[in-house]
Symmetry: C3
Amino acid sequence: MVNLIDNEVLQAFATYATIVVLKMLMMAPMTAYFRITRKAFANPEDAGVHGKTPEDKKKMIKTDPDVERVRRCHQNDLENIVPFVLIGLLYALTGPDLSTALLHFRVFVGSRFIHTVAYVFIFPQPSRGLSWTVGMIATLSMAYRILNTVLLL
Amino acid sequence: MVNLIDNEVLQAFATYATIVVLKMLMMAPMTAYFRITRKAFANPEDAGVHGKTPEDKKKMIKTDPDVERVRRCHQNDLENIVPFVLIGLLYALTGPDLSTALLHFRVFVGSRFIHTVAYVFIFPQPSRGLSWTVGMIATLSMAYRILNTVLLL
Amino acid sequence: MVNLIDNEVLQAFATYATIVVLKMLMMAPMTAYFRITRKAFANPEDAGVHGKTPEDKKKMIKTDPDVERVRRCHQNDLENIVPFVLIGLLYALTGPDLSTALLHFRVFVGSRFIHTVAYVFIFPQPSRGLSWTVGMIATLSMAYRILNTVLLL
């Protein structure tokens, strides 16, 4: 039987992958928070819960810069965190050193927390750009190791 | 060799993950159906297939509320179903009881089918919100089990 | 220990999955390239890097058809490549023949490269539609094999 308990690299991967996916999942309640406080909804049935008169509800179907910012951050997570988990699992199965693997996982996960803070709190560039680049380098480095170890075309 | 046939939890995971990913994939033809029937396209080369005169084609480059609704549902699937599959695979590798695992998988997959129906057919809230929350709880519960079992930071 | 080196189907999967995820990741720098050359940004702090006067910066917060096209292509990758990797991993674990597995992986990955070229360089339809369909058929065929082999509901 495959068991995570037998393999420290897989355990480390499971830990960091779970943490960073949880971070991504938290973007949804954050979007809901901004939608409610900014009264900016995408669906009439959602506005209906928060508006009283029909005109109220109609006005609440709008876009809001803060909502759109959180949604872009969420989208960037989908574009980067999902590839990290997919590549990271295959990387973990190539049998890297635990210390090298931990370095990759820690750098990626750390960079994505910084990326989210820089995005949501509108830090001046290049803070967001740099954090994105660091995460990307971690993923590319793992992809290089996979292709270098198991290439079968 | 790793083999799904040796492990019932992994078999159950493979079954439910495949079903719910297929559900997500079906959002694409549903979007295409609404784009064609509502004559609302994003790409000029797509409108070109369905419009005859140049003015016809230009008018078809527009957004439509029904198309946008299906697209938001698809996006919500990406934001929730992909994390379920990533977390669920790691969860299955922690060796949970089959009955507990099945409960998680069934609740999540059921909640997402209800979510799609509630979204596309515009059920009044909180039906969509509740189905989303139930799915999220299933994923969070599996994430908790992973961190509780294999935490290696 | 689970090890990719023991299983040729998993090696082939790791190779093709890594290549096609790298292709998806490359959509981000391509979007950045179009944002910079078209001077069309979503975030004021990004426009700030490229604009000099405040009016300059304000004008750069806009959508551009070329940027939106690359973003739609990226989104289509998320909607199709992520499911391929998730389904493909489970498929690889059902123990298919190497030659059958390679056929699925090659057809899917080839179809997605063609899809990107057809999307970004605006090939006339049905080239993009056909490449999308071929990739979808490869994924559906693998999903069918999974459900046929390990169904446990």
